[in-house]
Amino acid sequence: MIALLIAAPLLGAAVLLCGGRRLDRAGHWIGTALAALSFVLGAVLFAGLLGRGAEDRTLVQHLYSWIPVEGFQADVAFRLDQLSITFVLLITGVGSLIHVYSIGYMEHDERRRRFFGYLNLFLAAMLILVLADNYLLLYLGWEGVGLASYLLIGFWQHKPSAATAAKKAFLVNRVGDMGLSIAIMLMFTTFGTFAFTPVLDGVGKTGEGTLTAIALMLLLAACGKSAQVPLQSWLGDAMEGPTPVSALIHAATMVTAGVYLIVRSGAIFNAAPDAQLVVTIVGAVTLLFGAIVGCAKDDIKKALAGSTMSQIGYMVLAAGLGPIGYAFAIMHLVTHGFFKAGLFLGAGSVMHGMNDEVDMRKYGGLRTYMPVTFVTFGLGYLAIIGFPGLSGFFSKDLIIEAAFAKGGTQGWILGGVALLGAGITAFYMTRVMLMTFFGEERWRNLPAASPDQPDVEPAADHGGGVPHPHESPKVMTVPMIVLAFGSVFAGAFFGIGERFVHWLEPVTSFAHGHPPVAAWVVTVATVTVMVLGVGLAWAQYGRRPVPAVAPRGSLLTRAARRDLYQDDFNHVVLVRGGEHLTRSLVYVDHTLVDGVVNGTAAGVGGLSARMRRLQNGFARSYAVSMFGGTALLVAATLLMRAV
């Protein structure tokens, strides 16, 4: 059953990718149908779990032994429990919606079949990731989603920027994967296995040092996948991919895999407080980093990407808090999955209507032209800024409380950061909202593409010229509406009565955090900060008209536009340095290592040439050498006699 869940999209990927042109017409339907099928299967399994008691909701399906070697057992086994089923539903649900959406969005792309094949491949890999029963299989899914995201980011390969972005994403992820593999090796040397149950149960039996090491390595992996500082740089560029991809992979599902990893390995982190502290710090830093970047971007997708970063920062922060945060992390993950996917689909719909223009400074006043998009986007907006009653409100508020509940100065700092983050979120989301849907219609008197931003040139299959904004077709709007519903009600559904928390408790071991101040105080603070952020944004972008060409802006703005110079750093230190290193190594290999070899050859040749000069052809000089030799022989014999 579980295997079937994965097999469906896998089959889809195989068929679509090997199928060839004859599937071009039906391909997208096949892909969508299989995605939906796996969602249905997931729902059925979920129902099955609900039918069981809270404690025996863990099913393990052992398929076969993957890598059996002396003292090394890796099985292909799947584990279905509350945590994984939650992800399954999120992945397949949002995934199916986005499949549907893509049918419309990719209509004009002649490689649509391959696109759906990649999407299915992604679904399969993601499901393997969340359903794996051991870390090695998880690693398989982990790299699988990496591959899928590589293929999808670089889907428009004719754009060098896209190809570069894809490569960058894969490489940065590889760095993270290094962490994961080292963690697995550590587990193997420590526990002799890397299946979840024995490892997590065996935590008590080993020293804290080892556990901290494992935990930090896992964190490194999580940073890579979830675009956390310092490995966040790829997410922004990943927006080169088609918008549905950004929605599915780089907002709703894949990027949250890091959070899943941390929560899944909760036992290890619980036993390694230092590692936990690092996790919270990473979360907090990313939270602010993403938010600041999000404030400065004019590219709507990059702004949303910044926000994604920051939201995942929230989740990581929560996950770093231990039992008091795990559940909330997952909860925020799910709600975020809804509203962020909705936001991205909305952005995609806007671009769809605007000739793939992504520069918000060339939008404005679109609410009348695309009402459905406006409404759904707006709901997502309210949800993310944590407007009371919407899903974001619940999950984020809970995380902030938990952060305060960490206790001590740490608690205050983390809580403060989270609070501040909420404010900035409100600011930049409002900015997006205002620049896109309100204000004057700046797109009327503008060329389609702006030269100063080469990475936002329109895709080849859409013409340029002055855009004629229009609402997207049903096949695109329906998923947006569904997601909007999700973003409105999910929070309340999960949050009220801690339903979600109790659901996850057997897996993530929930503990009530006790903030130093009453919970309602925190809530009020959150709301006020949110209102402040909105007001600030209104003051800056609502009242005054938005300049069509980005003003130079303050130092911070400029820094934020360039992702706080993080890319420049990478470029100078890693890329340039690497180039110089390789070039010099090539030189060394050719001159030094190979030079020694060829030098030996030349030396032998030269020596023999010298020797040849001895053979001057004069019989007499040969005779001399003979005679000398004889003399030496006589001397030798005499010496022998003498000795």
């Binding site: 001057n616 004069f618 003399a631 001397a635 003498a642």
Partner: protein, 287 residues
């Protein structure tokens, strides 16, 4: 005889050794260092004779005689033949052409000699039995017994060797004629066709006072022409240059003529010399 063959060497032998030994060494040195091959050959012959004497003194009577007959008689003669063939007077300059060759040679020689002598020195056996017993039945008989008994096989093989050597020598020296020898007629025709020296080669100049086959005849202007001397002598570089001498002779002749005819000597000799040369030529022709 027996005394010589005995194991105690007489003072006579000692004296003989020291004198003849010196001669032998000198001969050897001569062989090496004399410029002309002929002289080397002669000094070598000397050394060999001395050695023959030593053989006799050591009781090797047969070998002593063989040494004189075969070596000094046959082999050295052979050498002399070749020397003559190649040129008696062809003295190769002792100037060394290969760099360092001479010094190396001397060094090696010296070292080798020293080593050898040193070796003999510390291998010296103090007492030794003479050949009295061995030669009791006569030296020749003894040798014959060994030669045709113990060493007969080797002896036969040496026979084969000698024959082979003879054949080899013939093969090496014999010049293979690929085509029939040219007749006079053909040679003449060839010469005409080549178009050089159509007339027979000029005769060498001839003086009464010595064998003049090796004197180049003089051209009208008085310079000697090599063509007039036989090729072999040319090869050996044994042309006797008499151009200056001939002119000197002419002077003397004229002198005498003047004295007889009371001419005044202050005449410019130029125009008459040519004439006088012809004259003298005529005279010589008459003689």
């Amino acid at each position: 005889m027996n005394t010589v063959a005995a194991y105690t060497t007489s003072t006579g032998e000692a004296v003989q050794f020291w004198i003849l030994g010196t001669v032998a060494v000198l001969g050897a040195l001569g062989t090496v260092f004399l410029k002309r091959a002929v002289h080397s050959a002669l000094s070598l012959a000397g050394t060999m004779i001395v050695l023959a004497v030593f053989y006799l003194a050591n009781g090797a009577y047969f070998l002593g005689i063989v040494q004189i007959v075969v070596y000094t008689g046959a082999i050295m003669m052979l050498f002399l033949f070749v020397v003559m063939l190649v040129g008696v007077t062809a003295a190769d300059s002792l100037k060394e052409t290969i760099r360092g060759q001479r010094w190396l040679a001397l060094l090696c020689g010296l070292g080798f000699g020293v080593l050898l002598i040193g070796g003999i020195g510390n291998a010296t056996l103090t007492e030794f039995e003479g050949l009295a017993a061995a030669n009791s039945g006569g030296n020749i008989q003894g040798l014959a017994a060994l030669l045709f008994g113990k060493y007969v096989f080797a002896f036969e093989i040496t026979g084969a060797l000698l024959i082979t050597a003879a054949v080899g020598a013939m093969v090496l020296t014999h010049r293979e004629r690929t085509e029939r020898a040219k007749t006079q007629k053909e040679l003449a025709e060839e010469r005409i066709r080549k178009g050089e020296y159509i007339p027979p080669l000029p005769a060498p100049g001839v003086y009464a006072r010595h064998n003049a086959v090796d004197v180049a005849g003089l051209l009208p202007d008085g310079t000697p022409s090599e063509l007039t001397v036989s090729a072999t002598l040319r090869e050996r570089g044994q042309i006797r240059d008499v151009s200056s001498q001939a002119i000197a002779d002419l002077r003397a002749l004229e002198q005498r003529a003047n004295e007889r005819l009371e001419r005044d000597p202050l005449e410019p000799p130029r125009p008459r010399r040519g004439g006088s040369t012809e004259l003298t030529r005529a005279e010589e022709a008459q003689q």
